[in-house]
């Protein structure tokens, strides 16, 4: 008997029936974009540690940058559509999705949410059109999970602030035209933290690239070195003071990541199903072996549940009532399941599982970064633990 066509994950969750025509069309359009424009180059970009800079104008033309923001040249799409688009981008590569997340949720969002009308008009339309690339500088060499301990300082001097400090692990820093940098003001503590728009060309602002990453190789990561960088007073984001500024950006980005991770997981899952259906050992395809099926089934169930969770919280976000704790739940759950699925798929492909000819090892390696950035898995456990018990364990 010829084996039946495998059921797709989308069919298993019956997700199409839960989406509007518009949402499906957005998903299918980004899916085709990634398949035609990114996947043929994905392995090479990863191998060569290159970002597909030439695709940036196309990504912008599709309206993917700042897509969930309203006005100022942004697409203004709902959270579910945005999530679906990010999942498709990450089906291509976590680096591709990271670029879009950082531009929209971490660089444009703080300007959109906390910026002055002048700042919004000056930067947002150009950022949506990718005429200006942004990045988000929060993490420092000695301040990761605990951003409140940051050392970067801004000192008011006449009509400008003078910034000094080093930011570390900053996505898109090497290619950015502007950075949203978070710094403590004068000798203040975490409650003095403010956001500054620092433009490329500012004296004392440099962005050396971090080389040798074995993960997210197709995304440029760098430092931001601020050496008495002088920024006009008008470049301070007026709308927020304290840690809640950067943290509210992270809530936006984390929501997107919890969708994005599903895309990476689906890519690994599909590769594993296709491979094990073809690969014959002991006289039959290994997909016909119970131990293999158990892994396929666990992957599919995990991804399907993650999908339903993301959709539920996406609808909640569109209704305006999602909380940061729920976003932590979604990020931890979905990145965790994606990483497990990638590792399972890696094993199911045998030796081929470590070759870049298949997407699996690339996703498995990428997801190690996704596990760590935007709040490590442990940090989200602590956020949830605090909410569920009432005891802060940080």
């Amino acid at each position: 008997m010829t084996p039946q066509e495998p059921l797709s994950l989308d069919a298993l969750t019956a997700i199409d029936g839960l989406l509007t025509d518009e949402e499906r069309l957005i998903r299918d359009t980004v899916r085709r974009f990634v398949r035609e424009r990114y996947l043929p180059r994905a392995a090479e970009l990863f191998a060569k540690e290159q970002f597909a800079v030439d695709l940036i104008p196309e990504i912008a033309a599709m309206g993917l940058l700042g897509a969930s923001l309203k006005g100022y040249g942004c697409a203004g799409m709902n959270a579910v559509s945005y999530g679906l688009a990010l999942a498709e981008l990450e089906y291509g590569d976590s680096g591709l999705r990271s670029f879009v997340s950082v531009q929209g949720s971490l660089a444009m969002y703080p300007i959109w949410r906390f910026g002055s009308e002048e700042q919004k008009n000056k930067y947002l339309p150009k950022m949506a059109a990718a005429e200006l690339i942004g990045c988000f500088g929060l993490t420092e060499p000695d301040a990761g999970s605990d951003p409140g301990s940051m050392k970067t300082r801004a000192r008011l001097d006449g009509d400008s602030y003078v910034l000094t400090g080093t930011k570390m692990w900053i996505t898109s820093a090497p290619i950015c035209d502007l950075a949203v940098v978070w710094a403590k003001v004068d000798d203040g503590d975490a409650s003095s933290i403010r956001g500054f728009i620092v433009e490329r060309g500012t004296k004392g602002f440099e962005t050396p690239t971090i080389h040798g990453k074995m993960s997210l190789r197709a995304s440029p990561t760098g430092e931001i070195v601020l050496n008495e960088a002088r920024v006009p007073k008008e470049n301070v984001l007026p709308g927020v003071v304290g840690l809640k500024g950067p943290l509210s950006c992270l809530t936006q980005a984390r929501f997107g990541i919890s969708w994005g991770a599903l895309g990476a997981a689906r890519a690994c899952y599909e590769a594993a199903v296709a491979y094990t259906r073809e690969r014959v050992q002991f006289g039959k395809p290994v997909a016909g072996k119970q131990l293999v099926q158990e892994q396929i089934v666990e992957m599919a169930m995990d991804i399907a549940k993650g999908q339903i969770l993301a959709l539920h919280y996406g609808r909640l976000k569109d209704a305006g009532s999602i909380t940061p704790v729920q976003v932590s739940f979604c990020k931890k759950n979905n990145v965790g399941l994606a990483l497990r699925a990638a590792r399972k798929a890696r094993g199911l492909l045998g030796g081929n599982g470590i070759l870049l000819d298949y997407p699996v090892i690339r996703h498995a390696l990428n997801l190690e970064s996704v596990y760590t950035y935007e709040g490590t898995d442990e940090v989200h456990t602590l956020i949830l633990g605090n909410a569920l018990t009432g005891h802060n364990a940080f």
Partner: protein, 275 residues
């Protein structure tokens, strides 16, 4: 330039093995099928958009593209996707898939063309479900318009289209006076296949069908989409094609492996008897 593009939805060709035929063999069971626009029709739409713009400024329209499909309410999804991709207006002719054939569709299109008065009707060379390859040709005949089939390139000239068709042994180039019917082949979406008079000949398109911008997808529901009754276009709905039965193609038998060339030659000679 005003262009009418006919679009048909077909069962997703990537999932063709989901097509089921009940034991009676009366018809194809369409439950559970995923629908996609016929790829050749998507190419026709891409060609139509290229002919109604300056390729260097694709956001500015320089002409009108009207898309039409025949089918039940759900086929409006196909039309909305076309509107999102750039078509200006859409028409759904309300009809049931199994009560249509190429002749009836062509007769209804003729009536629509007489109302809409496009300069060009652009269509896919065939739909990948029935592979009939008829509607464009019948329509041109009914309208008594010039026709070019299997277009691989189109260049707009004053009052005419210069159409390159890939034929055995080369390219045949036709100059068709407008109005005309043109059906397209897959190479029509190559980077330098289609030029309006506004697009500089140095311009290169991205290979393939363009991607709808996501804001355009959201704006598509504001573009006009009207429903027309089939009876208003074609009072006589008799079909010329009747289907007598459907059967799945026989499963392919496993091949054999040969040791060497001489065994291959001997088998071709003695068993397959092709040498």
């Amino acid at each position: 330039m005003k262009i009418l593009v006919a679009l048909k939805r077909v069962a997703d060709p990537d999932n063709a093995n989901k097509v089921k035929i009940p034991a009676s063999g009366e018809k194809i069971d369409t439950t559970g099928l995923e629908w996609k626009p016929n790829p050749f029709d998507e190419y026709a739409l891409e060609a139509a958009l290229r002919l109604t713009e300056n390729g260097t400024q694709p956001k500015v329209r320089a002409g009108e593209v009207v898309v039409v499909t025949f089918g039940p309410k759900e086929t409006e999804t196909t039309l909305r996707a076309a509107l999102a991709t750039g078509a200006d207006r859409a028409i759904r002719v309300d009809a049931s898939d199994d009560k249509l054939d190429g002749d009836l569709v062509a007769r209804a299109l003729k009536a629509l063309v007489e109302k809409e008065k496009p300069d060009v009707v652009l269509m896919g060379k065939q739909a990948v479900d029935g592979d009939s390859n008829q509607v464009g040709q019948i329509l041109a005949e009914l309208l008594d318009w010039p026709m070019a089939t299997f277009a691989a390139t189109i260049r707009e000239e004053a009052g005419a289209l210069l159409v390159g068709r890939e034929v055995d042994g080369g390219v045949s180039t036709l100059r068709v006076k407008l109005p005309a019917v043109v059906t397209v082949d897959l190479r029509i979406v190559a980077p330098t296949s289609v030029y309006s008079t506004k697009t500089p000949s140095t311009h290169k398109y991205n290979d393939g069908v363009r991607f709808a911008a996501l804001p355009a997808i959201m704006a598509a529901k504001k573009k006009p989409l009207v429903e027309v009754k089939l009876a208003d276009l074609a009072p006589d709905q008799a079909l010329k094609v009747s289907y007598h039965g459907f059967a799945a193609p026989p499963a392919r038998k496993a091949g054999i492996k040969v040791k060497d060339v001489s065994e291959l030659v001997s088998k071709l000679k003695n068993e397959a008897k092709v040498l």
